[in-house]
Symmetry: C2
Subunit: 375 residues, 2 copies
């Protein structure tokens, strides 16, 4: 049946999308036609989520209404809190979000798997509650503290940092988080989005698709890369030590996470943006070690492997110095990508066809069954 | 970037597999070389699960040990029971399994995402507990009854029917369930398996991949088809009424579920097998309505649409007359496919490459950002 042999579907089109593109030269990024640089410079994450869900940038009134809507949906249902309380502190935070999302699907099921509005309703609820799910579990599992997830903070970036730290976020940390959420929102047929589309292709519900997205993002070859990048940066106390360490990693054929990209070949346009913000956050924290270490790693990777940092690499530094624990880095990616997943789920439904590829068979030839007493 | 335009990746190879094949003519089905007819006739589902996980049919001692292993793992952890108790009776049973699976990943995480043995450990635990998760929730949410999920029944088919009905299953119902589990175990790069492979491709954990599989199977274009098939069969009280009803559905361009298949073009070899068992179960129940209705539907679909019944169609009847509520049909598919998913997760890991296709961009051309006050 198979007509083409491929590895990981690289360069194979799995369908059409109107949501984002890296452009004809494959080196930029636009969301519904808007350049990522403009969006990161001028917009709030909520405008981007709105752009994903409603296919246009909101005007001021629409944005105010949208923020109010999200603000009003931050509280977690009692049953969900009880579920989160059963999860131990040593659990992987991505497992917590995957489970929280899946559970919510039982008590607040999607009204219809065919209606664009029901997808928006669920998505907005998830956007509003994910920071609360993560931090409720975090504080309860560590300190037995049941936090109130209904903060008065204006947006998702400030809301998350407030719930995490129990106090208002520093403006620079807020602004950096906001930019980071914008950059992480959407990236065409990346693995987690593609998984969400495969799930949607059977006409399943949006919670199933989101859950598939979270589980796929969790892996170190995808969202998990920002945590893996931090682990490498943290290992070294000087740029020279990093250089030596990297050579050791090369010799052992270890992958260095946070570099290269399936779709980009020369650079990741998002990296330049987040690097500037990471620099500011590092400077404000008085860091004299990690940023220089990171820059040296960047240089070595380029000089010796011709690999460039992707969004994950400097994001890691910006989160670290905003006081975010490393194992929450990928969950932040979820907060943002939820909006992108939703846009793809809606798009897949609008032109649905079951996603079911073929395979090249490499297994045993037909063979006779052997009765159990003769094995 | 895209080099080929496709719809739903139909006929496009997404990689290699040695687990199952429909054969060169695309009309059979073998699991690791063994014909599905032989397996359904001579084997138990546990032998097939073993074949999936350990790549060979077990001898008698291996099978005994394997059954004992599964038998010893049926009990649900207290935290999981508490989670299941939070799920209302009206929830979708697939959401219950998706959530139960995801939650278990928090409290019994996979030891390593790189080790074939850790994948087997988790898979066996899921095979052993899925029937218990489903029925514990079912009885608790309806009657407030906390059942003991550690039955003494010998295999998964009898264990499930025992937990569901609170008594030993009729031999015919047990045997039919066993055959059904065998037939549902594995089918190459079907949508749920492909989703599990996409998730695995980022080197995520097996619970994430299984959760993606369940969420994808849930849709009516995939596993949900057996429930949808039942809904159609149940509607009619005579074959003539069914014939008329089908013509109405055709006129309204409604899909009739349980017919046709992405990979088969003339018939589904599994359908002939399950149809014989469904006939026996219907006869034993004294049915004079549903089986004749189903056969008429089969005839009309072939005569007028040239579509053949797939595995889902007669499976529905066999479950119905075994006393299984309709919304548990797709969960039974999960009990079986878990073994197939596991084989693919292990295979994907053994030759891993990130699954990340391209897309054809059809969205807006690059456009200037508009400041919010000018929108």
């Amino acid at each position: 049946m198979a007509t083409q042999k491929t590895g990981g579907l690289a360069g194979v089109s799995a369908g059409e999308t109107g949501i984002s593109t890296v452009g004809k030269e494959g080196k930029g990024l636009t969301y519904r036609g808007y350049d990522i640089h403009d969006l990161a410079k001028h917009a709030s994450f909520e405008e981007i989520a709105y752009l994903m869900l409603y296919e246009k940038l909101p005007n001021q009134k629409e944005l105010n209404d949208y923020k109010k809507l999200l603000h009003g949906q931050r509280e977690l249902p009692a049953a969900l809190r009880l579920v989160l309380e059963q999860i131990p502190a040593k659990a992987h935070p991505m497992d917590v979000l995957r489970t929280g999302c899946s559970f919510l699907g039982n008590i607040e099921p999607e009204a219809s798997a065919h209606d664009v509005n029901s997808a928006r309703v669920v998505t907005n609820r998830l956007l509003a509650t994910f920071p609360g799910m993560l931090t409720y579990w975090y504080h309860f599992s560590r300190d037995g503290k049941r936090i109130n997830t209904q903060s008065d903070e204006e947006d998702i970036a400030s809301h998350f940092l407030y719930l995490l730290h129990g106090k208002k976020a520093d403006k620079l940390h807020h602004d950096t988080m906001n930019v980071s959420l914008i950059l992480y929102t959407e990236h065409e047929f990346n693995a987690s989005t593609f998984a969400a589309r495969v799930t949607t292709g059977t006409l399943s519900d949006i919670y199933s698709a989101m859950t598939a997205g979270i589980g796929t993002l969790r892996g170190p070859l995808h969202g998990g890369a920002n945590e893996a990048a931090m682990a490498v940066i943290e290992k070294y106390s000087t740029p020279d030590a990093a250089e030596k360490g990297l050579h050791d990693m090369f010799a052992q054929k270890q992958l260095v996470m946070g570099f290269g990209h399936r779709v980009y070949s020369i650079s990741d346009p998002r990296s330049d943006v987040i690097k500037q913000w990471a620099k500011k956050v590092c400077d404000a924290a008085g860091d004299k070690v990690m940023y220089p270490v990171a820059e040296r790693i960047e240089k070595i990777m380029w000089d010796e492997k011709h690999l460039f940092p992707n969004l994950d690499f400097y994001s890691a530094l910006s989160y670290h110095f905003s006081g975010v624990p490393t194992d929450m880095f990928t969950p932040i990616f979820v907060f943002a990508r939820t909006a992108g997943w939703a846009a793809h789920i809606i798009e897949q439904r609008n032109h649905n066809k079951l996603i079911r590829p073929s395979a090249d068979y490499t297994g045993p030839e037909p063979r006779a069954f052997v009765a159990i007493e003769k094995r």
